[in-house]
Symmetry: C2
Subunit: 283 residues, 2 copies
């Protein structure tokens, strides 16, 4: 498995593949790969002739109080897993390669970045939009693969692609969960055994909200409050950033439920911030 560390190297490699008529797939990740990432790589492998997996813990999307320095990293393991899932090359740049001295350009998707996680992580989605724009420009993929767990990120990237006329197809992939419902996340490794057991409350709360809708509830605020009460019932939930019932594309709150609806939560189990969401189509 080739691990390329410079923009010039990955560009040259992709250019050669493209000249040979191959289609290019990109799976952008921050590494510490889990089954969620691997499902993206496998899908890219199935749909594209040449698959680039980027592994870059992007400093721009971490706040000063966040876990940039402690975010889990294991390039050897990632390389092996990515190869097994069908990656052709890994792009693993240094922060200096991505943000050389004098760097000062940012991409911002304004309205979509304001609510939900954006309200609690100022600058986070600006960092995401900027690095994803750079990765698209470096690799020039035909398709790029993103997980639906980061639902706000996905909505922002789709909007950005349309707004900036980026010539890439965004392929979303469903959340991969543990057998007890916990959504896979590289940050799950931070959880103690007791926290790990408690963390299932996010999914249970979302399922409870979905069940309410299935039972006929059409008041978004009542669904929201019911999900929140479920989260609050778990003693290890130390803080709830938000519980939201929104349109999955515009991320605007839905008070009367119809069409596509997304229930989304962000909460701390101890000191670990987790997010999850579930989509419902209401008749």
């Amino acid at each position: 498995m080739e691990v390329l560390e410079t923009v010039a190297a990955v560009r040259a490699r992709v250019r050669a593949e493209r000249r040979a008529g191959k289609s290019i797939g990109l799976v952008p990740t921050m590494g510490y790969l889990h089954e969620g990432h691997l499902s993206l790589i496998r899908r890219a492998r199935a749909e594209c002739d040449f698959v680039v997996v980027s592994i870059f813990v992007n400093p721009l999307q971490f706040g000063p109080q966040e876990d940039y320095n402690t975010y889990p990293r294991d390039l050897n393991r990632d390389t092996r897993l990515a190869a097994e899932a069908g990656a052709d090359v890994i792009f693993h740049p240094t922060p200096e390669e991505m943000y050389p001295a004098g760097f000062q350009t940012h991409v911002e998707v304004e309205k979509l970045s304001q609510g939900l996680c954006g309200a609690f992580r100022p600058g986070h989605f600006r960092g995401v939009a900027t690095v994803v724009t750079k990765l698209f420009n470096i690799v020039g993929p035909d398709r790029a693969y993103f997980g639906e767990k980061d639902a706000q990120q996905l909505a922002i990237i789709r909007r950005m692609v349309r707004d900036l006329n980026l010539d890439v197809e965004i392929v979303p992939m469903p959340i991969v969960r543990e057998s007890d419902g916990l959504a896979l996340s590289s940050r799950n490794t931070y959880l103690s055994p007791a926290e790990r057991r408690a963390a299932t409350v996010l999914y249970r709360a979302l399922v409870y909200g979905r069940d309410l809708i299935a039972a006929g509830e059409r008041d978004g605020l009542r669904v929201r409050d019911a999900v929140r009460r479920t989260l609050e019932s778990e003693p290890l939930v130390s803080r709830i950033d938000y519980v939201a019932v929104v349109d999955p594309d515009t991320l605007e709150e839905k008070t009367t439920l119809s069409g596509s609806v997304m229930l989304a939560v962000a909460a701390y189990i101890g000191k670990v911030r987790l997010i999850d969401n579930i989509k419902v189509v209401v008749d």
Copy 2:
């Protein structure tokens, strides 16, 4: 001469040319073409197999009190002039084509956008950076051509290309002037005959500053003040936005002159805001 009005049409056209192995040149303009623009098109013609000229008065780069509605437009004349200079196709989108409902993504080159014109035209360079990113993504040129009259714009676009890894070569072209020194600008058409005569003061002031440096002056502030006094000596100069002595790449003020130096001015002749600049290499 083909005039294409949609993103899809220009993309399809360029894609076909590229498939045939042709290199692509882009000359982004706001139309009302003058010899400055035509020098860009001719250079693109000489260097590229297929030349796209975009004509789009970009609402995003005009302030609410600025001249978006009255900015001069003449597509028939522009089409003829662009064809004569060697353009292969004109891209002339509507504002709705470029900024459809829900548009909310912006590109910002932060430090470089703050001083000089940026201090007097808040949001202007954000609008420029955003539309140029879009045009690059739509056309996918090998080279794009920009005039040095808009020196801050040029510095910003160069920085943006590096920062966002845009795969395009930026080709700058020298300012084209009238025989009396006035830099060509579509906005010169706003000038009354008396204002047109007075407008030469911008270039005269810059030349005076250059002559001071040639005579040995190495104090940037003294050069700046001398240029300003020359502007002030013209009664039809109704306002001076700035006189600046800066590094042409970083746009930072130079107090002790050495290496590449740019003298830049922005001033109103009556109600017409004009800019000009001159570069000097100091031994």
